[in-house]
């Protein structure tokens, strides 16, 4: 694949700043890399570290009202893009550099048919007539895998699925055979089973036109399987860069190592995940010295004073890294003393798999949604969201429910704890049928069953303080409880999920995504449930934060013996968290059993497809990664 040694595109010392309420946000602060013809360069890193801003700077789409390019160059062939005027830059966009965005749902214009949207760029850049552009577009649509390109041409975006829309986006992006294709999280919003197809399509297009690809993602497995080179970004800088092979087998930077190690994989089951503490610093207020200081497990006394540079330090380290640990003079100085707060290895979790009693048993549960049509909205049919599922959950154990989007997972979760009333079937909770109960009988049981949702923001009331949100359940269930003891109880639950006492009187918008999810968990825990349904509870979070939350859930489960129904599409999470797994397909459970067994020997077609489609990193590789040892401390 690597055809020539000179890069097609070269980013040199790029700096992009924004005006923000807390000062100048240095979103991209001196980033350099090059991408060779026909090769793929991946940018990885946590949310908010500047990946998208780097991409938008290259294509010249930084919002000119709030941001600007502070310095650096972007070289494409023999042109310098940052110094081009707007009208010249427009000829580059869509023609020589094009971009695919994360959200296929919103990235297409809803009121223009998709063919027209693809043809538009062709007409503009290839000076094609309307008819010619149409012919080229239809050919493109067929090229990206549509069987009926003519029909798709006339379709409006809302009639297409997420995967189909992303194919249209790809057709649009590669129509003019660009030299550089930027794919910003091209598969993140898609269902796991179709992600692979989209990536493969991009690769095919790449091998045909030998364009360079800048792949932005936080999915490490995707990078591992598809990229040639990687740059790990943190707080506006690249902290480590190299070929995929060396970077995954011999990562050097503590951030890279922690990022990889925080991925949930089967081999980590018996341990708490190696989460990175804290969160990405705000772009307007980076810490002094090394920007990873404060979160780094190997932080040394001098790290917060001196900023490490991204350089190759001798052949023994193989690739460039920005960390003092590899800087011999630094390590020989008195600055090389481990900071006291540096953390150790995560504690092993003791989870014995003895047979536990069944807490909850679902038998032939059905929840159908009516479809209404006609003059008086008569019910003409049903969407069989949950169509006769049976499963059981043991005390203190975790059952994972997996399946593609729309297969009825969430409806199943809600029906089980009777947030929705199912149409038929039984839910036996310690022998009593919940479905047969009236709301009044159900109320005392409500406390024992809680739910945690995916979107921590929309599930918290923005106008209520954390005290009110978390304490609400207590207030309803124990009206006789005094206000003082309610506050004490709430505070202790918050402490359990890692939030301080001062969180009590604050509002949801003052917290980060991970913290909000902690609040969601605290709300569920406050009433001491026996069973929690986690509906994609960690899906919206970064790997590092996800690891923190998974650790929290797991340790809570151990302490309190809570049973969990874990609805997710992330197979890594399943392997790490769950004892058993149920695979759902089209409203039915097609496979149910022990996680290791099903993952090793899937029987149903859908399970096989699912397991094959999802790129995963070998668990052994992750486990083999170790943080560098800091040599003898100074006296």
């Amino acid at each position: 694949m690597k055809e020539s040694q000179t890069p097609v595109v070269e980013v040199i010392g790029l700096k992009t700043y924004f005006r923000s309420s807390s000062g100048v946000a240095r979103a991209v602060d001196g980033v350099s890399f090059g991408i060779r013809k026909g090769s793929t360069f991946a940018l990885v890193g946590e949310s908010g570290c500047g990946k998208s801003v780097t991409a938008l700077s290259i294509i010249g789409l930084i919002d000119r009202h709030s941001g600007w390019i502070e310095g650096g160059k972007v070289r494409l062939g023999n042109e310098e893009l940052t110094s081009l005027d707007e009208s010249t830059m427009r000829q580059v966009r869509g023609m020589r550099v094009s971009m695919i965005f994360q959200e296929p749902m919103t990235s297409l214009n809803p009121v223009i048919c998709v063919g027209e949207q693809v043809a538009e760029g062709i007409r503009l850049h290839q000076k094609a007539s309307k008819q010619d552009a149409r012919v080229i577009t239809v050919a493109m649509l067929s090229r990206v895998g549509f069987d009926e390109p003519e029909r798709i041409y006339r379709a409006y975006p809302h009639t297409l699925s997420g995967g189909q829309r992303q194919r249209v986006m790809i057709a649009m992006a590669v129509a003019c055979k660009p030299e550089l294709l930027i794919a910003d999280e091209p598969t993140t919003a898609l269902d796991v089973t179709i992600q692979e197809g989209i990536v493969r399509l991009i690769k095919e297009m790449q091998s045909e036109t030998s364009m360079a690809v800048l792949l932005i993602t936080h999915n490490m497995a995707l990078v591992y399987k598809n990229a040639d080179e990687v740059g790990v970004m943190y707080a506006g800088k690249i902290v480590e860069a190299g070929s995929v092979k060396t970077l995954f087998s011999k990562p050097l930077h503590p951030y890279t190592i922690k990022l990889l190690r925080s991925m949930p994989v089967a081999g980590q089951r018996t341990h708490a995940l190696d989460a990175i503490r804290g969160s990405v610093p705000d772009a307007a207020s980076y810490p002094s010295g090394c920007r990873f200081s404060g979160r780094c497990p190997r932080e040394m006394a001098g790290c917060a004073q001196k900023e490490p540079e991204l350089v190759l330090r001798g052949q023994e380290h193989g690739h460039p890294v920005a960390c003092h640990l590899y800087d011999a003079p630094f390590m020989a100085s008195r600055s090389a003393r481990l900071v006291a707060s540096a953390e150790g290895v995560p504690a092993p979790l003791d989870k014995t798999h003895n047979e536990r009693p069944v807490l909850l048993e679902v038998r032939n549960l059905k929840t159908w949604y009516p479809i209404r049509r006609g003059l008086f909205k008569r019910v003409v049919g049903h969407v069989k969201a949950v169509d006769g599922i049976s499963l059981s959950i043991r005390k203190g154990m975790t059952l994972a429910l997996v399946g593609e989007s729309g297969c009825g997972k969430s409806t199943a979760g809600k029906s089980i704890i009777r947030l929705i009333t199912p149409d038929a079937g039984e839910v036996l909770y310690m022998g009593k049928d919940l479905c047969a109960m009236k709301e009044g009988e159900l109320r005392p049981l409500r406390r024992r069953m809680q739910m945690i949702f995916q979107d921590p923001y929309s599930s918290l009331d923005p106008r209520r303080t954390i005290m009110n949100t978390v304490g609400e359940g207590l207030e309803i269930l124990y009206p006789e409880m005094s206000r003082r003891s309610r506050i004490a109880k709430t505070a202790s639950v918050l402490e359990r999920v890692g939030l301080g006492y001062d969180a009590l009187n604050r509002y949801p918008h003052e917290f980060s995504g991970g913290q909000r999810q902690r609040i969601g968990i605290a709300r569920a825990l406050a009433v001491e449930p026996e069973f929690i349904v986690c509906d994609e509870a960690v899906s919206a979070l970064d790997v590092s934060v996800q690891a923190q939350i998974l650790n929290l859930l797991k340790s809570i489960q151990l302490d309190m013996g809570i049973a969990m129904l874990f609805i997710t599409h992330d197979l890594g999470v399943v392997e790490y968290m769950a004892d058993e797994v149920a695979v759902m397909y089209d409203g039915k459970i097609v496979e149910h059993g022990n996680v290791e067994e099903i993952f090793a020997r899937p029987r149903h077609e859908y399970t096989k497809k699912l397991l094959a489609a999802v790129p995963r990193i070998d668990s052994a590789l992750i486990e083999s990664l170790k943080l560098p040892v800091v040599p003898a401390a100074w006296p």
Binding site: L61, H65, R90, F101, E103, T106, V111, H125, L375
Partner: protein, 326 residues
């Protein structure tokens, strides 16, 4: 589509009925038929006989809503409410209580002066406001943008009355460009219309410009706009081809529902410029407690409102392929 319209019309029946009852109830609460009669006959020296006589002549001699003296359906039909409201259903508005004019005829006559003022205000206002808002969206963040936004806020906070009086004074009295008020028929009405139209447009401009600017800016921040820019399209194409068509959707909600009300005219404008339209007709009727006219106009208003809603929904389907009525 047809079933949708039929359903909407069916839903409309209880609304129209309810509005009518409420108007009647409120009216009778403030103003009993006796009061009405007394008022119509002149406040002083009215004999009881004269009142009864007036009530009988004008059909207010029955109980308001429930006739306890009658039985069966007559209990409800032999009431003022039923007798007065039922004919409205087939647009028989009857005669006014005060001067016995034919209300239906009067509405048909007065409709035209109302439209002559309200349509130009509406159209010109819409064009000017959208044009300015698009300019601001194109040069957002510039000094021009800031200046116009500030100006809009200032214009919004000034009362319409001020524009009317200032306009009449400056353009009518000082410069003598147009007559201060009045109306004429046919082509001669033109010189009387310019002033109210200009003032009408100016007085609503602040609100309109700000609304459309917000709509456009919101639309210009969307993901598909970024996609369009990434294709290399010029800012103008992005704004007009991609932004405008999507922005039409929220604009429609605001605009189409008010189209039927153009018939209704503008209460304020017509009163101040002495334009013999439906707006001034309504105001006069309220002032003189003419229940027959008020009832008719309220009924007409609720019908127009429902027509407006249906029109809005239909117009959505023209701009938004995602919406299908059924």
């Amino acid at each position: 589509m047809l079933t949708y319209i039929i359903r909407r019309l069916l839903y409309a029946i209880p609304i129209i009925l309810g509005v009518n009852m409420l108007t009647a109830a409120l009216f009778f609460q403030i103003n009993t038929p006796d009061d009405m009669a007394r008022r119509m006959l002149g406040e002083k020296n009215v004999t009881v006989d004269a009142i009864e006589n007036w009530k009988r002549e004008h059909g207010y001699d029955r109980p308001a809503f429930v006739n306890t003296g009658a039985s069966g359906t007559a209990m409800f039909t032999q009431t003022v409410f039923f007798q007065k409201s039922a004919p409205l259903l087939w647009f028989d508005f009857g005669r006014s209580d005060r001067n016995n004019i034919n209300i239906g005829l009067e509405i048909r006559n007065r409709m035209w002066p109302s439209l002559a003022v309200s349509i130009p205000i509406f159209m010109a206002g819409l064009i000017v406001e959208i044009f300015i808002a698009m300019m601001l969206a194109y040069w957002r963040g510039s000094v021009l943008d800031l200046a116009v936004v500030v100006l809009s806020v200032v214009m919004m906070s000034v009362s319409t009355l001020f524009y009317i009086i200032a306009g009449q004074f400056m353009l009518g009295k000082v410069f003598k460009l147009f007559p201060i008020s009045g109306y004429d028929t046919g082509i001669y009405s033109f010189k009387f219309l310019v002033l109210p139209v200009v003032i009408g447009v100016i007085s609503s401009m602040g609100v309109g410009v700000r609304f459309y600017r917000t709509v456009f800016l919101e639309e210009m921040g969307r993901d598909y706009i970024r996609t369009a820019r990434a294709k290399g399209l010029s800012e103008g194409t992005v704004l007009f081809k991609h932004g405008l068509r999507n922005a039409m959707i929220p604009v429609l909600t605001n605009v189409v529902v008010s189209i039927p009300f153009l018939f209704y005219g503008s209460l304020l404008m017509e009163t101040f410029f002495a334009i013999p339209g439906l707006g001034s007709f309504t105001i006069d009727a309220i002032q003189s407690q003419d229940f027959a006219v008020v009832r008719s106009m309220v009924y007409l208003g609720s019908i127009l409102y429902i027509v407006g809603l249906i029109l809005t929904d239909i117009s959505y389907t023209l701009f938004d392929p995602r919406i299908r009525l059924g």
